[in-house]
C-alpha cells in the first residue's frame, strides 16, 4: 500500500504533528535536512519543499546568504497544487547554494547522511533526500538540473524521481538553468511518487515551457547499458550494479549493451549550457531589492553591483565568471552554440535507444564520500561525479534513482531512464523493483 493511503487510513494521536515536529527539530540539529521547519502543521500528509521553491510567506533562500530574508508572496504552482490536494508543508529543505553541487556541501551547514553522519547526503537536493530517508511518512519536493535528485536519493537510500522536462510547472522555482531545471520528488517508494506526480502535472499559465502531460505507453522489457559509462565505474560500484542487473535479468528483463560515442561530451555540454544560463540567473541578485541588503549607498552603480556579488559562495562565483565568459561574443560559437548542438546530437542518439528500451546505470559512480573528502575535490572532480546523471538531465528525459544495494552499510542506487513522457512507465518499473527489494532506513520519525 502507498504510504499516502496508509497514512490517511491510520488513526493518529492528537499530538501527532506536535511530536513529529519536535522530534524532527531534535534530529535536524544534527542532520541539517531543513533550513526552516513550520510550526503551523496540524493536518495532512507532510511534505517538504526544497529551499529554491517558493512557498507563500516562508523564506526561500536556496541556501544562499544572498536570499536571507526573502519571503516570496506566492506559492510555486506545484506547491499550490499539492496544498489544494490536502498536503501540508512541513518545512524548507537544505541544498547546495542555488543547486550548485553534487554533495550538498556548498552551503552554510551541509546536510548529513543518515546512514553515516560523517558522510555527505548528496546534492544538490541534500535536505530533501535526508527528509525522505528519516521520516516514515514523507514526500519531498525537490529539483534537478543535472542530477540533483538522483545523487542525494542514491546516497540516502531513497527513491528520487526526475520527470520529463516541462511536465511540471517551474513557476516558483528559483532558477539555476532554465532549460534544464525540473521539479521532481524524493520519497520512500515509487508508488508514493507516482500518486503525487499525477497531481502535479499540467499546463500552467505562469510557465510557458510547461506542457500538458501526455503519457507515452510502450511495453518495454529491454534494458540497455551504455558501454562508455559502464567502463568508467569503479570496482565496488560495478560489482554492486552487476548484482542488480542479474536480479533484473532473473525478473525477465533482457539486458543489452550499446555504444554511445557522443556520451563523453555530455558533461562538458551540460556545464557550458548550465553555467551560461546560471550566470544570467544570478545577475538579478544585486543586494537592494530583496534578500541580502547592502547598506552602503555611497558607491557608484558599478562598485555597488560588484560589492553585492561578494555575498555569493565560491561555486556561485565560479559559475558567474565561467558563465559570463562562455556567453561573451568572441567565444559564444566555440562553446555555447557548440554545446547546444552536442545536446541535440545526444538527444537524437539516446532517443534511438529509448525507442525500444530503458537505459540503466548506477545513479552515482561512487559511494557517498566523507564530507571532508568531498570538500577536497577539485571542481573538475566534482563535475565528473555527475557523469551518470547528466545524460538524462541534459536531454530532458525522465529518470528514477532506486535504492539497489547496500555496500559496507551505505546504500547504492540504480538509475533508469525513459523516453520523454514515459514518466509513468519508469515509475511502474520502480514499483516492480520494490516488490521484492526491501529498502532499509535508519530512522522512522513519525511512525504510527
Amino acid at each position: 500500500m502507498s504510504s499516502l493511503r496508509d497514512f490517511s487510513k491510520k488513526k493518529k494521536p492528537e499530538d501527532y504533528y506536535v511530536n513529529l515536529i519536535q522530534e524532527l527539530e531534535r534530529i535536524n540539529g544534527r542532520l541539517h535536512a531543513f533550513n526552516e521547519i513550520s510550526h503551523d502543521v496540524d493536518r495532512g500528509f507532510p511534505i517538504s519543499v526544497k529551499d529554491n521553491i517558493c512557498v507563500d510567506g516562508m523564506e526561500a533562500t536556496a541556501s544562499s546568504r544572498m536570499l536571507k530574508g526573502y519571503k516570496p508572496p506566492f506559492d510555486a504552482t506545484v506547491v499550490q497544487k499539492l496544498k489544494d490536494a490536502g498536503f501540508s508543508v512541513l518545512g524548507k529543505t537544505n541544498m547546495d547554494e542555488f543547486g550548485f553541487g553534487s554533495f550538498g556541501i556548498n552551503c552554510i551547514s551541509p546536510a548529513r547522511n543518515p546512514f553515516d553522519e560523517e558522510r555527505v547526503a548528496g546534492g544538490s537536493s541534500s535536505g530533501a533526500a535526508v527528509a525522505a530517508s528519516i521520516m516514515k511518512y514523507h514526500l519531498a519536493i525537490a529539483e534537478s538540473t543535472g542530477g540533483s535528485i538522483s545523487a542525494p536519493a542514491c546516497f540516502c537510500g531513497v527513491v528520487g524521481f526526475t520527470p520529463t522536462y516541462g511536465v511540471i510547472s517551474r513557476y516558483g522555482l528559483i532558477d539555476y538553468a532554465n532549460s534544464l531545471d525540473k521539479i521532481g520528488f524524493i520519497a520512500r517508494s515509487s508508488e508514493d511518487i507516482s500518486d503525487v506526480f499525477k497531481l502535479s502535472v499540467g499546463k500552467d499559465g505562469f510557465d510557458s515551457t510547461c506542457a500538458d502531460f501526455k503519457p507515452l505507453k510502450k511495453e518495454k522489457d529491454r534494458l540497455v547499458i551504455i558501454n562508455q559509462l559502464y567502463e568508467r565505474l569503479d570496482k565496488g560500484i560495478k560489482a554492486s550494479f552487476d548484482r542488480s542487473v542479474r536480479r533484473l535479468s532473473a525478473k525477465g528483463f533482457k539486458i543489452g549493451y550499446e555504444d554511445v560515442n557522443e556520451i563523453g561530451y555530455a558533461v562538458p555540454a551540460y556545464y557550458i549550457v548550465s553555467m551560461a544560463e546560471a550566470s544570467t540567473n544570478l545577475a538579478k541578485y544585486t543586494g537592494f531589492k530583496y534578500g541580502e541588503q547592502l547598506t552602503d549607498f555611497s558607491m557608484d552603480y558599478n562598485s555597488f553591483f560588484s560589492a553585492s556579488r561578494n555575498v555569493f559562495g565560491e561555486e556561485a562565483k565560479r559559475k558567474i565568471v565561467l558563465g559570463s565568459f562562455i556567453r561573451s561574443a568572441s567565444v559564444r560559437s566555440m562553446y555555447y552554440e557548440k554545446a547546444l548542438k552536442v545536446r541535440r546530437l545526444i538527444i537524437n542518439r539516446l532517443k534511438e535507444i529509448l525507442d525500444g528500451s530503458f537505459i540503466i546505470s548506477p545513479s552515482m559512480p561512487v559511494l557517498a564520500p566523507k564530507i571532508e573528502e568531498a570538500r577536497a575535490f577539485t571542481p573538475v572532480q566534482n563535475y565528473s561525479m555527475d557523469v551518470l546523471t547528466i545524460p538524462p538531465n541534459l536531454c530532458g528525459f525522465p529518470s528514477i534513482s532506486l535504492p539497489s544495494d547496500y555496500v559496507g552499510g551505505l546504500p547504492t542506487g540504480m538509475q533508469i531512464i525513459g523516453d520523454h513522457m514515459e514518466d509513468l512507465s519508469i515509475l511502474s518499473f520502480g514499483k516492480e523493483w520494490e516488490k521484492d527489494f526491501i529498502y532499509r532506513f535508519k530512522y522512522n520519525i513519525g511512525e504510527i
Partner: protein
C-alpha cells in the same frame, strides 16, 4: 552623412509583455506590478500574444519578412532600473527583418524589428533615485534601420512616414519614444543613445551633424564613441557608458518557448499605408503628398479617408475639410460619418462639437428643404432668450452673426439660409 536608427516604441496592449499587469498609467508608483515584472526570484515570463500580433502588423506595414517562429534572448547588463539584470529581447529570432520604408526620392532599409520589454523608470532626486516598476515589462518594438538616411531632411521625412504608419497601427506617439541615433559624417560611427522624443532626435542629429562637420573641416576625424543628448543645453556629450555587444553576453531566453507567428491574424489594418494613400489619391484626384501630409501622425485621418472614400467621389477641398474636421474631433470613422461630415460642409455648416454629436447620431443637416418657417421659428426661440438684441442690432448689425451661428449650429442649418431669415426678422421685413 550616414544615419541609422534604433527606434523604440511602446505597443498598445492592455497588459504587459510577460505578465498580466496593466500597462495603463497608474496614480501610484509600484502598483501595476507582480512577481514577474518585479523580477522576483521564482517568477517566470509568459508571452502576451497581443503584443506579438501588433508587432507582426508593424512588420507587415514596414514591408518586413515576418519570421514564422520567433525566439527571445537575454541581454545581460547591470542597471538599477532593470529588475532581472537582463532584458528579454530578440536578435536572430526577431519577429521581422529586411523591410523598407519608401521616401520621396529614396528608400530606407529596415534591418530588423524586435519585441522587447521596457525596464522600470528611474526617478532621480537630489541625493538618491527611486524606482517605479509600473513601466517595467511594457512591450516595445525596436525598429533597427540600415544606415541609409543621408540628410536631416531625409531623417525628418523618414520619421514622418514611420510615425504615420505606426499610428495607423495604433502604436501611439504620445507614449515615450526612445531612439539610439547612429550618425557619421566621417568614417567613424558616433552613437547617441537614448534620445527621447522626435524633437530631441532631430535636434540631436542637427547638433551632431554640425559638430562632426566642424571637426572634419578642421581636418579632425570624429572619434568612434557613444554620446548622450542633453535636452537642456541641446548638445551631445561623451557618455560614460561603455557596454559593447560583447559584454551583453546574449543567450537564449529558455523560459520562453519558440512562438509560432504564422497563425496570427493581423486583420485588415495590415494594409500598407502608402498603398492606401496612393489609392485614395488616384481615386479622388488629390495628390499623394497631400494625402501623406494629412495622414502623417494621425491614423484617424487615414482611416477616415480610407473608410470614407470607398464608393463616392468628393472634390478635393471637401476631402481636406472633412479630414480637418475629423482630426479635430476624433470622430468615429466610417463611410456614413464621412459622407455626413461632407454634407454639412457642403451646406456651409461650421463643424463643431454639437454638429459632431448630430453626426454621431446619424442626423443629416436640415438644409435640403430649408423650411423657412421652421428656420424662423428657431430664430425666434433664440431671440426670446435675448430680448435686448433688437436694440443692439440697430447699433451694430454684426450682432446677427452670433444668432446665425448659434441657430445653424444647433439645428444643422446652412448659415446662408439662417442669415437671410434672421435679417428679415430683425429688420421687420416679411415675405
Amino acid at each position: 552623412m550616414k544615419i541609422g536608427l534604433e527606434v523604440h516604441v511602446a505597443l498598445p496592449t492592455r497588459s504587459k509583455l510577460f505578465c498580466s499587469c496593466s500597462t495603463a498609467d497608474a496614480d501610484q508608483p509600484n502598483t501595476n506590478v507582480c512577481p514577474t515584472c518585479m523580477g522576483l526570484p521564482g517568477s517566470k515570463p509568459y508571452l502576451n500574444g497581443e503584443a506579438v500580433r501588433i508587432a507582426k502588423s508593424v512588420c507587415i506595414a514596414l514591408g518586413c519578412v515576418v519570421n514564422g517562429s520567433i525566439s527571445f534572448v537575454r541581454k545581460t547588463y547591470f542597471y538599477p532600473d532593470l529588475p532581472k539584470s537582463y532584458q528579454i529581447t530578440q536578435i536572430d529570432g526577431a519577429i521581422g527583418r529586411d523591410g523598407k520604408i519608401k521616401l520621396e526620392n529614396t528608400e530606407i532599409r529596415i534591418r530588423r524589428v524586435q519585441i522587447e520589454e521596457d525596464p522600470a523608470k528611474l526617478i532621480r532626486e537630489d541625493r538618491y533615485s527611486l524606482i517605479d516598476f509600473n513601466r517595467s515589462g511594457t512591450p516595445l518594438v525596436e525598429i533597427v534601420t540600415e544606415p541609409d538616411i543621408k540628410s536631416e531632411k531625409e531623417l525628418k521625412e523618414f520619421l514622418y512616414v514611420l510615425w504615420s504608419i505606426l499610428y495607423y497601427l495604433g502604436v501611439d506617439i504620445d507614449k515615450e519614444i526612445k531612439t539610439d541615433l547612429n550618425i557619421s559624417l566621417g568614417s567613424n560611427r558616433v552613437e547617441v543613445k537614448n534620445v527621447t522624443g522626435i524633437k530631441n532626435l532631430l535636434d540631436a542629429a542637427a547638433y551632431e551633424a554640425s559638430r562632426q562637420a566642424s571637426l572634419l573641416s578642421r581636418g579632425n576625424e570624429p572619434v568612434k564613441e557613444t554620446r548622450r543628448y542633453d535636452e537642456r543645453s541641446q548638445r551631445t556629450e561623451p557618455s560614460r557608458e561603455k557596454e559593447s555587444e560583447e559584454e551583453y553576453g546574449y543567450i537564449y531566453e529558455t523560459d520562453l518557448e519558440d512562438y509560432d507567428t504564422s497563425k496570427i491574424k493581423t486583420g485588415d489594418i495590415e494594409a500598407d499605408v502608402r498603398k492606401t494613400a496612393k489609392s485614395i489619391a488616384s481615386r479622388n484626384g488629390l495628390d499623394y503628398d497631400t494625402i501623406m501630409q494629412l495622414v502623417a501622425f494621425d491614423r484617424h485621418s487615414l482611416s477616415l479617408l480610407n473608410h470614407g472614400l470607398n464608393s463616392t467621389a468628393y472634390d478635393p477641398s471637401t476631402i481636406l475639410n472633412v479630414v480637418e474636421a475629423g482630426k479635430r474631433f476624433r470622430s468615429s470613422v466610417n463611410e456614413k460619418s464621412f459622407s455626413l461630415i461632407a454634407e454639412y460642409i457642403k451646406a456651409g455648416v461650421q463643424i463643431d462639437k454639437e454638429i459632431m454629436e448630430r453626426i454621431r447620431k446619424g442626423l443629416k443637416p436640415d438644409y435640403k428643404t430649408p423650411d423657412k418657417l421652421k428656420i424662423r421659428e428657431f430664430i425666434s426661440k433664440e431671440l426670446e432668450n435675448d430680448p435686448d438684441i433688437l436694440k443692439r442690432y440697430r447699433k451694430n448689425p454684426k450682432v446677427i452673426d452670433f444668432i446665425v451661428d448659434t441657430v445653424s449650429r444647433k439645428y444643422g442649418l446652412p448659415q446662408k439660409s439662417v442669415a437671410e431669415e434672421a435679417k428679415k426678422i430683425l429688420t421687420g421685413e416679411d415675405d
